[in-house]
Amino acid sequence: MEATSHVVVWGIIVLFGALSALVLWKIHRNEIRIDSILVEGESAKASLSRFQFMFFTFLVGGLWLFLCVKRGEFVALPDSALILMGISSGTYVLSKGIAHGSGAAPPEASPATATRTVIIEPRAMPVDFPPPRPPTAPATPQPVRD
């Protein structure tokens, strides 16, 4: 019975590892696109808040996993790590509130309500012109009768 559970657990770990490797491979081959991971909404400008989110997530997650591997047990996350991430996300929310409150920045369009501007380029269209008329002779003045 114990041998079976060992096989199941190791099978899950191998499956998990293979899945993780597959995700990395797809990102590497650009089948999962991450080039706009820092861009906010429809704008082409990178967001500092998103960068902070990403930075602290990798930092705290990486440190936590490193400590877990080093100690061989789960390590509790301290308040300091949560506060660091909380400050970052709180600022993101406040920043969005300021931007929306002043009306300076347009609200981020959700995928359901997003509209797309379509630019129609002018093309040469065939036009049927009427055939040119032959030149008409000038009207001759009629003689005046008494």
Partner: protein
Amino acid sequence: MPGAAQALHIVLATWVAALAALVAFRVVTRRIRVAGLLSDARRRISPERVQLLIATLAVGVLYATTTLRAGAFPETPPGMPALDSAPTLLVAALGGSQGLYLLGKLFRRS
């Protein structure tokens, strides 16, 4: 099953490290768009964004260094947090920097 748990941790840690390396490489080679990270809506370099980026990177590096040296996450002392403890200083530094950023943003919008 301590062996299995250790293996799972190693798989996860390797995956996070590889993902972080991939993202960092793409940020450096500009394959992840970073244009406008330090500029405001008028496309001008914004000082509060620059200081926030520097503060974020500095706090992150200091936090990681403190953790790796001690082999544990820096803990705030029980009771009132001492002002000279590493986590309190880092949190205060990051909080102050974020406050400056928000004030600058508020000032520019009004």
